[in-house]
């Protein structure tokens, strides 16, 4: 638990809706869900753009690019010479969606 200061105008307004602690927690939950959902949507858009560019989903690309000499050569010749830059951001998007989804689940389930 962390103690924070809340402006009196919010206290006065929210007290009308019932127990202050519960009301503020509900408000924070709604705000967190909204912000996390926005994050997931943006990451999904970026992730889909990489999928379209490289013609496959992240887990397959990550595996092939790490193991297949000919595939790496093909990617550099036909798709993107600097795939390493894309791979880092693609990984962030793919795993970031999972990170935020887990956080969202935690917020909604507890």
């Amino acid at each position: 638990m962390v103690n924070i200061a809340i402006h009196q105008k919010y206290i006065q307004a929210l007290q009308v809706f019932g127990d202050l602690q519960e009301t503020i927690e509900q408000a924070l939950q709604r705000y967190a869900v909204e912000r996390i959902t926005e994050k997931i949507v943006k990451l999904s858009e970026r992730e889909k753009a990489y999928q379209a560019q490289y013609g496959m989903k992240y887990p397959l690309f990550e595996k092939k690019i790490a193991e297949d000499y000919d595939f790496a050569t093909h990617v550099e010749k036909d798709i993107a010479l600097t795939w390493e830059l894309d791979l880092a951001d693609w990984e962030f998007c793919y795993k970031g969606i999972q990170d935020w989804t887990r956080k969202l689940t935690t917020i909604l389930m507890t």
Binding site: I65, E84, D89, D99
Partner: protein
């Protein structure tokens, strides 16, 4: 993003405009990882690309210098099968996915293994090898 990663990225962001021009950056984070991507110009002809992805286990980096679309140099530790072959003599499943510091040069026609790089070593390399 933990405070150590936060400080590290903020230091890079502060330093970048003192070395490069036309600096543009994107910083994003989740509860478990953070990424910093910088694009900039140097010496009038070079484009600089810096990416660091940090999670709880490893720092993945890419430090690239392009002259138009020609890759002058590219330091990274991505799991590249050609770096694997150079390090172990073969591409086997036992080392697949291993992060191997290496560099690409001459538009990726040459690859060499390197020591682990960081952005400060990269900046030192730029100052030593590229005309400002």
């Amino acid at each position: 993003m933990d405070s150590q990663t936060d400080d590290h990225f903020n230091d890079i962001i502060r330093q970048a405009p003192t070395i490069f021009s036309e600096v543009d950056y994107v910083l994003d984070s989740t509860p478990e990882r953070a990424i910093l991507r910088i694009q900039a110009a140097y010496g009038g002809v070079y484009r600089i690309f810096i990416t660091e992805l940090i999670d709880t286990q490893i720092r993945k980096y890419r430090y690239y210098v392009l002259k138009k679309s020609w890759i002058s140099i590219g330091f990274d530790n991505s799991p590249d099968p050609r770096a694997l072959r150079l390090k172990y003599g073969k591409i086997g499943t036992e080392h697949a996915g291993e992060y191997i510091p290496h560099l690409h040069k001459d538009n990726k026609t040459h690859l060499e293994l390197t020591e682990e790089m960081d952005v400060y070593k990269f900046i030192a390399w730029i100052r030593e090898h590229l005309a400002q």
